[in-house]
């Protein structure tokens, strides 16, 4: 199952970085990628699933991580509250996503991106901005029709701090999060819009790029 996800995701990522996206801030074309509920999703006790090392490692490795490609020069000062940061590189398949909190930003050494990282408990956290520069590509996404709600979206995400990490929980399960799901849920529950570009079980970081509701306001490599 996860081998299929990886292969399909690599193909999707390869298409993502084709020259067709080389100019301007137009959205890249992304091939369809796996979005059906994994068998593990039937395990409602997602924490116990995470404790199964062989299961969780494959799943998590196929869905996030990375950081072994190049670097980017993302300009955090150009971002608003609740802008979504997506970072990608060749090894990460789907990369990583977070929601920017401008009120905590004092430089790239500050912890100003709300996201979820692997932690059985306290998965939702404030991540250090400098780590987002250690990826080959970075995208900044904005939801133009909801700029009036950006503080409310940010605050909603901040209220999820300390909730556990899980890639097996469905998008509507508010007890646990993975990185891109936090941004998706915050916009969904505050503004009512669905940022998952292609629907399905998972909302991948690339789905946030592809959403009709998001604009790419910055891209760095």
């Amino acid at each position: 199952m996860y081998r299929i996800i990886r292969v399909a995701s690599l193909a999707a990522l390869a298409l993502l970085v084709l020259p067709q996206a080389a100019f301007g801030l137009t959205k890249p074309f992304v091939a369809p990628h796996p979005d059906r509920a994994p068998a593990e999703a039937q395990m409602t006790a997602s924490l116990s699933a995470l404790e199964d090392a062989s299961l969780s490692y494959d799943a998590l490795a196929s869905l996030s991580g990375g950081g072994s490609g190049g670097t980017n020069a993302i300009a955090f000062t150009s971002l608003y509250d609740s802008d979504i940061v997506v970072v990608l590189d060749p090894s990460s398949v789907t990369g990583h996503a977070g929601l920017f909190d401008r009120s905590h930003y004092t430089g790239i050494s500050s912890y100003s991106v709300l996201s979820a990282n692997i932690s059985p408990s306290n998965g939702v956290q404030y991540e250090k901005c400098a780590k987002y520069r250690l990826y080959e590509w970075a995208y900044a996404l904005r939801v133009p029709q909801e700029v009036g709600h950006r503080v409310a979206v940010r605050d909603y995400a901040a209220r999820q701090l300390r909730k556990p990490y899980s890639v097996f929980a469905s998008k509507t399960d508010l007890k646990s999060f993975y990185c891109s799901k936090l941004a998706w849920v915050a916009y969904r529950n505050v503004t009512g819009i669905d940022l998952d570009g292609d629907g399905g079980f998972w909302v991948w970081p690339v789905d946030l790029i592809l959403s009709d509701y998001t604009s790419v306001v910055g891209r760095w490599s």
Binding site: G66, S68, T71, I108, K128, A130, L134
Partner: protein, 353 residues
């Protein structure tokens, strides 16, 4: 007499063996990349974050030569030095997802030996040393605040964990204690002092200043940041009260990093964002009176002191500069082998020289 040649032959063989062994020893010594005169001399240690695996570049300050490169197991985002042992501690933050790390590395830069202390919480992002311990701030927030870990350096064991109020803020050491900025329940800005021995914490109101960095000058904590304009505030290390506050002129951004160099306090504004300044500001280390600018041939992204000399990492050129702050003259420049650094940090080991 034919037998008389045998002792000479024996001596010759012994001499030849000794020469061969010596040659092997020299080759082996060089092959291990051990510093020649750096075994006891002052060293600068520069963090190159890289991607996936960070590197510590060890520079012999007497010669300006790179003495050693130490590869760490994951991305490190900060380093500090323990004054008593000379060990360099790195916050092994790692990447995201399965690449995240949860360790402190302890490196003897004179030998290149690295030990890892596993921490109970992921993603340590900042580190300072105080009282023989390393204190690491994590990105993880619990109900009672952001998690920090304390590592006993001598035993290389976890000494304990604690929480500081609010999301992770600035992290520094001064006056023998650990200092951090946090948020109170009402959102008010706090300055917190952590006792390195007991891990007990005291909190003080910080006022209107927006903290962007913490440094030490004359044994006192100095909060750097913005209070309408760039500012620096000296804090009483015992009761957390404000001793004095000054504006810091002449920088493109608010001050974020600083180091005491003799009687001077060198202040920088590097934040990782443009515009990136090419100057530092020198203040009096005690009064914080402005002493004027210090132009730097490069982008100063990390600072350290070596006696009366200032060490600067030039982010743009990937160089370590040793500068005489009284004249602004560059005394030496060392190519770190990697221009265009994403960020960096620098510490000095064995600063007696």
């Amino acid at each position: 007499m034919p037998g008389a040649a045998r002792p000479w032959l024996f001596v010759g063989v012994i001499v030849a063996l000794a020469v061969a062994l010596g040659a092997v020893a020299v080759i082996g010594w060089r092959g291990s990349d051990a510093p020649s005169g750096a075994a006891s001399g002052p060293l600068a240690v520069v963090l190159l974050p890289d991607v996936g695996r960070s590197t510590l570049v060890v520079v012999d300050l007497r010669t300006g030569a790179v003495a050693r490169r130490v590869a760490l197991r994951s991305t490190a985002t900060d380093i500090a030095v323990d004054a008593s042992s000379g060990l360099v501690v790195a916050a092994q933050s790692g990447g995201f997802g399965p690449d995240v790390d949860s360790a402190a590395s302890l490196t003897d830069v004179r030998t290149g030996a690295v030990r890892y202390v596993e921490l109970p919480v992921i993603d340590p992002g900042d580190v300072v040393c105080a009282g023989g311990r390393a204190f690491l701030l994590h990105s993880v927030v619990e109900a009672s605040g952001t998690v920090f870990s304390a590592v006993d350096i001598a035993s290389a064991r976890l000494a304990g964990t604690g929480n500081v109020p609010g999301p992770p803020g600035q992290w520094g050491s001064a006056g023998g204690a650990v200092w951090t900025t946090g948020e109170g329940p009402g959102g008010g800005r706090l300055l917190c002092r952590i006792d390195p021995a007991t891990l007990s914490m005291s909190s003080f109101a910080l006022g209107t200043m927006r903290p962007m960095g913490l440094a030490e000058s004359a044994g006192r904590p100095v909060v750097l940041g913005s209070d309408r304009v760039g500012a620096a505030a000296v804090i009483d290390p015992l009761d957390g009260s404000l001793e004095t506050s000054v504006s810091v002129p002449g920088l493109l951004q608010a001050p974020r990093r600083a180091v005491q160099v003799g009687a001077r306090f060198a202040v920088g504004d590097w934040s990782g964002d443009e515009p990136e300044g090419r100057a530092l500001r020198l203040l009096d280390a005690v009064t914080l009176h402005d002493l004027g600018p210090l132009r730097v041939d490069g982008i100063p992204c990390a600072l350290a002191a070596w006696g009366e000399r200032l060490l600067v990492v030039d982010r743009e050129g990937g160089r370590l500069l040793v500068i005489d702050p009284s004249s602004g003259r560059v005394l030496s420049s060392t190519d770190l082998g990697e221009p265009g650094l994403v960020f960096s940090e620098v510490v000095v080991v064995g600063a007696g020289g």
